[in-house]
Amino acid sequence: MSHISPVLWQYLVKWLTNFALFPPEASKIAPQMDALFFFMVLVSLVGLTIVVLLITAFSILYRKERHPVAEQIEGSTLLEATWTIIPLGLFLIMFVWGALIYFRVYTPPANAMNVYVVGKQWMWKVEHAGGQHEINALHIPAGRPIQLTLISQDVFHSFSIPAFRVKREAIPGRYTTVWFEATQPGTYHFFCTQYCGTEHSHMTGDVVVMTPDGYKKWLAESTSGMSLAQNGERLFASLSCTACHNDRADARGPSLVNVYGSRLPLPNGGTVVADDAFLREAILDPSQHLTQGFAPIMPTYQGQISEDGVISLVEFIKGLHSGYRLQQTLTTTTLLPESEGKAVPVRQAPPQSHLAKGWVKP
């Protein structure tokens, strides 16, 4: 509704915000959502006013003293049709409008900057692509679409930033995404809104929206020295992934070069796009995510890598655009101490029947 009267709108919102009756509108989607919200408030007020007016008027006009004998009326099809169709129409408008906003919030644009958020009882771990880690805080630049990729390590959590009007559940075992574009530098609360146990109400933190320059400075200051992708590369080597995914002609696993975003053929004839979720599951539950032409020999890494580790791996694979890097990694594998890779290195793994031997679920 900002296009109707931006001045009035902003004034109204500011006034309400100052009285702590309304959250600040600090993202691009916020005014859009508020427009719908106020539309619904308006409809409700009108509806409520009509109902209250009817009741008051009839109560005065037809109270017993004034109107001792009731007139029996059966009903009125016309009237009843009216109050069926008008609310229905209004509700449908809300539905369409709301659906548009819903899809907007949950469909990130391609150019969004990705930040990983891992929820666990009871804190939020934030991982930036550059390797910056934060706990219960999120630093982002204003004026840039930010995509959050969320996952939980245990129970359902929910990442909510009221000032941005966005919220998304962090689910165990599955990536979910949400995006926003902050407009106003400042500090805003975020909450865990899904009840997640004892310290649920302490799973909160601040979003710090910075100017692009400020953000750059922050990035530089809080770097941990290794980007997510670099960390992923290290893991990739230490978990002996390179034993199979080495981009060589005789490789036992498919090449991962440029795999991100590509369409992979499945054994059953279908195809699937290799997105973050696919990559994650292909690592943790490979048997379910076979590429055509390869044997199901990859061991599962379920329970062997933390969600942060998976994120690093995914981030590394996302950035793989040439086989050269893989070859390089391959040569470094031998240098790494064996103990770092917790999983059974596939190269040394005997044929699968052996592998399976004595496999009893712990």
């Binding site: 379910q288 699968q352 029947s353 009893v360 679920k361």
Partner: protein, 256 residues
């Protein structure tokens, strides 16, 4: 009953005499007008109860459906470890018991006391046979280490040859370790569903036992057949549940 003064003679115009001159058998409860009304009412109530049972099992079927879709290979291989012989036999046993139950209802309707007793006893016994066979199967699963939670091994799924019998028949391919773990889900659902079904059988059998005693005393063949009918409905319903459990659990994919 004389009108007590405080009663506005039910306002609603004329009235029907409560006291029936007509037959008023002792099994007619006081708040019903007639035997038919009572029969109809209890019959309808039984159907509604079965409706709730449909939804109750519905939740289980729902869970089964989703998991089967997700982990189809695991479900196939796991179901190969059920005994198709016992499964089919048990289906036949249950169907037969349904038939004898239906005959029991017929005997009650036509007031054949001997026939009724015989049918009830047969049904009772077939029910027990069903449970025994179920017990044999459960025992087999225990021996094969397929009781989830307590005693579970995925050995025969990651290494099919370790179970030569099944392997000879189906040439199962090895499941990947991750998928093999999901066979446990299958067996969980198997035990939950057959267990819930068996629970219903036990309830049914107990009621049948009670009925056999009553029938010997001549109940149910005096024209008051509702109870037999309603238990019959219950018994058939339990049968229907099995009719779906059998293909879903045993026949996921039996060809080699």
């Amino acid at each position: 009953m004389p009108d007590s003064p405080a009663i506005a003679s039910s306002g609603a115009a004329t009235a029907v005499e409560t006291a029936h001159a007509a037959a008023h058998p002792d099994y007619l409860r006081h708040h019903f007008e007639s035997v038919e009304q009572q029969a109809d009412t209890t019959n309808f109530a039984m159907w509604l109860f079965l409706l709730t049972e449909v939804m109750f099992f519905g939740g289980l079927f729902m869970a089964y459906l989703i998991m089967r879709n997700w982990y189809y290979p695991a479900f196939v291989e796991a179901s190969h470890h059920l005994s198709i012989f016992w499964g089919t036999t048990n289906t036949a046993v249950l169907i037969t018991s349904s038939f004898t139950m239906a005959m029991g209802v017929w005997c009650a309707e036509t007031r054949r006391k001997k026939g009724l007793l015989l049918s009830l006893i047969l049904t009772f016994c077939l029910g027990l046979v069903f449970l025994c066979i179920k017990g044999i199967e459960w025992h087999a699963e225990w021996v094969q280490h397929h009781v989830p939670g307590l005693h579970y091994s995925v050995e025969s799924f990651v290494n099919p040859a370790s179970d030569p019998e099944i392997y000879a028949e189906y040439h199962d391919r090895a499941l990947s370790p991750a998928m093999a773990l999901r066979t446990e889900m299958y067996f969980f659902l198997y035990f939950a569903m057959t267990g819930m079904h068996a629970l219903h059988m036990i309830v049914g059998i107990s009621i049948l036992g009670f009925m056999i005693l009553r029938a010997r005393a001549g109940s149910y063949t005096n024209g008051h057949v509702t109870f037999v009918e309603n238990v019959g409905l219950y018994w058939h319903f339990v049968d229907i549940i099995w009719i779906f459990l059998f293909p879903l659990l045993y026949l996921v994919s039996r060809h080699g």
